[in-house]
Amino acid sequence: MNEQHDCDAIAVSNIEKTFGWGSRTSKALDGLTLSVPRGCVYGLLGANGAGKSTLFRIIAGLVRPDRGAVRIFGEEPGSKSRRRLGTLIETPTFYPYLTAREHLEMFAGLTDTRELVEPVLHRVGIASAADKKVAGFSLGMKQRLGIGCALIGAPDAIMLDEPTNGLDPDGILEIRSLVADLATRDGITVLLSSHLLDEVERVCDRIAILRNGRLAAEGSVAALLDGQGRFWLSVDRPRAVLDLLGERADAGGDGIFVQVGRDEVPELIVKLTQSNVRIYEAKWVKPDLEAVFLAETRGESQ
């Protein structure tokens, strides 16, 4: 499903990871294989517990996989290859008694990139708070500092796990444009996970959707959206339609979305009218990532 090349920035193959013991065992990743091409903004989607953060932690070397292999820029993972990787994993965490500048200087010292501290502070928008202790930072400021820490080593690739968590709408727009800028202007590969599907759709070139630790779908955004249009109905008795169509129908958008092929629409209309359902409006809705995501993760809760 996912052909790997040496030119990939990050590649994982047949990764398996189980947490817990005995009856409390839970499989976080189950034979996952995917590769992130260089220079690409790659989105990772999945419901909570799908395995996104575990994958990030395995790539970062925080968790060892039970099976499978990770390659970073074609090399075995190690201190040298991981130094080409900037990471922001889950909630950004810092020492509350240090300032933002001290954090950046500390991490810059590990990669001999102290000259980047000032530019990075400005780039992530916390230059004015650079000398304040992190204990007083809002979640949004911590997110910005977290992204700054990911950028400070002049990495060739960065992994951002929910980078817009806690940011206000302006902040989300800024980070979105920063991510796009990193890829287009700096040529940095970005592996991004987010629950904001609209954001992912706008900035990512390719997307992988995880379900129960496995790859449910993968490809370019355009390819994933292709053929995913939904049929929408406005009716007088939505409850009756949901009962009639079962799992093929979902309530949404003041009406009902129906999973149906274009050829089946006339029969659907006849079936509903014969059931005394009055149809006020019917239309095909332009596909979006939310529809793809819901379709691919639908089986998760069942």
Binding site: F19, T54, A60, G61, T93, P96, Y97, G109
Partner: protein
């Protein structure tokens, strides 16, 4: 990279002055403060003019025995555990491990603790020397050419090494337990209880317990040889025991952290 990691650890300690003072500097300050208080009370109560020690180096070497005091060991254990536990407390291994790997950050933490220990012990010795010099000055025998004997310097160096080895063995043990249980309490309480137990055993049973393989007793065994002319086998067994504790604790701690999943610190 090691230099940067050690600098980072020292920066973190500098930004926590309470930890730095109470855990690493309180013991030397207390030793000096208690000695000044004791001599002052003796002078005021009995009118005895305090006398400096005959040999400054021997006196300083004896002062380094503070490393075997359970209270100073408790403070030191809290300091070491804080250095290691902070990464679990603030979930910051996720920042260090991808950049520095697993071993270098651990080695940097050990180096920072070792440096603080050396400074604390040096301050203890220096404080004692300064106090004795001040007493000699007050007593008017500052010109005494025998204030520091050549033998005394050797005893001081040996005493310093033993104190450093004792605190290193204890520090590495505390670090290992902190890593294993991701908890400060789990690391400090048992180490303190063992230290108090060893101190009580030594106080009641004397030399009979010095060959038990515990760090404090092992260090006491070397000090007994150094200051009280005890049998040489005490020194050999003591140093061997301290080295064995250091190697075992470092090995176990390193192996535990090497395999430790940091899914949630």
């Amino acid at each position: 990279m090691m230099k940067a990691l050690i600098s980072a650890e020292l920066l973190k300690l500098r930004r926590q002055p309470a930890v730095l003072f109470w855990c690493f500097l309180a013991a030397p300050v207390s030793v000096l403060g208690l000695r000044i208080a004791f001599e002052s009370v003796m002078f005021m109560r009995f009118g005895e003019v305090p006398q400096g020690s005959a040999d400054f180096a021997i006196s300083a070497a004896r002062a380094l025995g503070i490393a075997g005091n359970p209270v100073s060991q408790l403070l030191y254990a809290i300091g070491v555990s804080t250095v290691f536990f902070s990464e679990y407390r603030f979930s910051t291994w996720r920042n260090l491990v991808p950049r520095g790997g697993r071993f270098p950050p651990l080695v940097a933490k050990c180096a920072a603790c070792l440096l603080c220990t050396i400074v604390a012990l040096a301050l203890t010795a220096a404080g004692d020397v300064c106090f004795n010099a001040a007493l000699s000055f007050v007593a008017g025998d500052i010109q005494d050419p025998h204030a520091v004997q050549p033998d005394g310097v050797g005893v001081l160096a040996t005493s310093f090494a033993v104190a450093l080895l004792e605190l290193s063995a204890m520090g590495l043990t505390v670090a290992t337990i902190t890593i294993a249980f991701r908890s400060m309490t789990a690391a400090i309480v048992p180490v303190f209880i063992v230290a108090v137990g060893a101190w009580v055993l030594h106080a009641y049973l004397g030399e009979a317990v010095l060959l038990l393989p515990l760090p404090s007793l092992a260090a006491d065994a070397v000090r007994a040889w150094l200051f009280d002319s005890a049998d040489g086998r005490f020194a050999v067994a003591g140093v061997a025991t301290l080295l064995a504790w250091c190697v075992a604790a470092a090995g176990i701690g390193g192996a535990l952290f090497w395999r430790q999943p940091l899914a949630s610190e």
